[in-house]
């Protein structure tokens, strides 16, 4: 019975919310835009207490039973207690309790400004190092796709910095020639042949481009090339994923609203 009520509520509120997006009836629109979200906020607010209780229970148990890594739990509990004291008991400034949370002289504000914010910024800054290590792994040449990723990554990086603007068309052309030879290198049986071919290509092709007056083409300007990579292949890929996500969202919502997807309720 308990579960049936939960299913009924999911189906009923789901359909109501869906209808609220299409039907022009102000009480219904008001319900889904304001009331329903407020109800959700109220329930979430109560759940916050459960979260706090869970946190305290877990760490107190760890400390009292001296389970593995219980020392860290002391730090968590100390931080929790300290912020509770500075938030509810000790003010440290001349303004009243409540507004003191945003008052510069208060103990709570000091903790927020000097401990909480720098710690958050530190974690965020770690991202830079993780991006570097992840990029290294992604750019490692293992197959054709990884090579393509590496090449487009290099063009994007060069094209987005000021020095990219200064690269002349013939240098961009030489880079392309080298890249093409890097890709077809294993097709040459003798190294000498490959070297001669590379030298001939690097010396003659720029003259041919210049002779036919093709140096103005966007492909020879790295900033323009990176713009094209971002605007065409990258956008096409991300839009394909977005369409898939939209379809998946609708299908998943349909399964939940019609009561078919019940895993969330343990079925």
């Amino acid at each position: 019975m308990k579960r049936q009520i939960a299913y009924f509520l999911v189906v009923f509120i789901g359909f109501l919310t869906l209808l609220g997006h299409f039907i022009n009836y102000s009480p219904l629109n008001n319900f889904i835009d304001n009331d329903a979200t407020q109800w959700f906020d109220i329930i979430s607010g109560f759940a916050a207490f459960l979260g706090v209780i869970n946190l305290l229970q877990l760490h107190l148990n760890k400390v009292t039973n001296k389970r593995a890594n219980w020392e860290y739990s002391i730090v968590t509990l100390a931080g929790f207690t300290l912020m509770i004291i500075f938030g509810f008991i000790y003010n440290g400034s001349e303004v009243a309790m409540g507004p003191h949370l945003k008052e510069k002289g208060s103990a709570f504000y000091w903790m927020f400004e000097n401990i909480y914010l720098p710690l958050g910024a530190t974690m965020f800054a770690l991202l830079a190092f993780f991006v570097a290590s992840a990029s290294y792994r992604a750019f490692k040449i293992r197959n054709f796709e990884a090579t393509l990723l590496l090449i487009s990554g290099i063009f994007l990086m060069i094209g987005r910095v000021p020095i990219g603007q200064l690269i002349p068309w013939w240098m961009a052309l030489e880079i392309y020639i080298c890249l093409i030879f890097a890709i077809i290198a294993n097709r040459f049986k003798e190294r000498k042949v490959m070297l001669y071919s590379l030298v001939i290509a690097m010396t003659t092709i720029p003259f041919l481009i210049s002779f036919f007056n093709l140096s103005h083409l966007a492909i020879f300007k790295i900033p323009d090339l990176q713009e094209w990579i971002m605007a065409v292949p990258a956008t096409a890929g991300s839009r394909a994923i977005m369409i898939g996500i939209a379809l998946g969202t609708i299908a998943q919502s349909y399964r939940i609203i019609t009561g078919r997807e019940r895993s969330i309720l343990g079925d």
Binding site: S44, S263, L265
Partner: protein, 288 residues
């Protein structure tokens, strides 16, 4: 005949009612959305019925979903825990709900294999739902004795504090399998790279398109786009659910055909062979 009434007449009637009803009971501006939703729902319903009638449905194998059981099995063999991270958003995000539905299946696997499951949560209301999901999954597998109350626990509401907390858990407990299933933001790479550094099998799934590249780089398997939403249905294995995925795939085919038509029409329009911009049909509020 019955099928024609259900899948041709009823949607046709809904569209006629929506577009030609004389009184303004429908909100203007949502026409394209309405048509797409009704079309998708009826196609899904059609394939669900087809699957229920016993027709065999082929599902293309998704490596990440197949690897889930392997990852739990590996964790069991190594005697290490399974870490499940349901993202940092609340229950108002479909990604979180999808993450929790997958959690139900993963919890079932850990109950079956007797592996230890650890679910640190960022939002209290998600914690309560995750607890219920795990409890039910363990009960369903006949192993309520293995369920522990501290299996699902609250860490913090703050994004980077949560990332720091989960990283700490990863480095201390060294889980053999890490699941990232839910809504993620900038913390995705911090978590995934830490998981990578401890050598865990990592399976990610998210609807945040901006985080997918990070997961693809740092994780062993990634559920991309609609695969993430289909994972729970796929894992359930019930014909009803598989039928819905099939229906979703057919709508995707319809989308591809539409894109090709718009592409050809735009070329013809560009060269002056036609004078009708078909793409305008797909912009909202143009049908009326």
């Amino acid at each position: 005949m019955n099928k024609y009434i259900k899948y041709v007449f009823i949607p046709g009637f809904i569209f006629l009612f929506y577009f030609f009803f004389p009184f303004p009971i429908f909100l203007p501006g949502n026409e394209t959305t309405f048509v797409c939703i009704i079309f998708l729902c009826f196609v899904i319903e059609y394939f669900i019925e087809k699957a229920k009638s016993g027709e065999k449905i082929y599902m293309r194998p998704i490596a990440a979903i197949k690897a889930m059981e392997e990852a739990v099995g590996r964790a069991t063999e190594m005697g290490k825990p399974v870490l499940y991270i349901p993202g940092i958003s609340s229950l108002d995000q479909i990604d979180t709900i999808s993450g929790l539905t997958i959690l139900g299946h993963v919890a079932g696997m850990t109950a079956e294999y007797e592996a230890s499951l650890h679910v640190p949560v960022c939002v209290p209301i998600v914690m309560e739902t995750a607890k219920e999901t795990c409890k039910e999954a363990y009960l369903k597998k006949g192993r309520p004795d293995l369920y522990r109350n501290d299996m699902v626990h609250y860490v913090t509401d703050d994004q980077f504090a949560y990332a720091a907390g989960v990283n700490g858990i990863m480095l201390r407990e060294k889980p053999a399998a890490v699941f990232f299933q839910g809504k993620f933001y900038a913390e995705s790479l911090i978590l995934a790279e830490t998981g990578n550094s401890i050598g865990a099998i990592q399976i990610a799934g998210t609807g945040s398109s901006s985080q997918i590249p990070f997961f693809v780089t740092a994780c062993d398997y990634t559920l991309i786009g609609e695969e993430f939403y289909a994972a729970s249905a796929y894992l359930s294995g019930s014909p009803e659910m598989l039928g819905s995925i099939k229906g979703q795939d057919y709508v995707k085919v319809a989308c591809i055909i539409l894109i090709v038509i718009v592409f050809i029409s735009s070329i013809l329009n560009g060269y002056g062979y036609t004078h009708f911009d078909i793409s305008s049909l797909f912009r909202i509020n143009v049908i009326k």
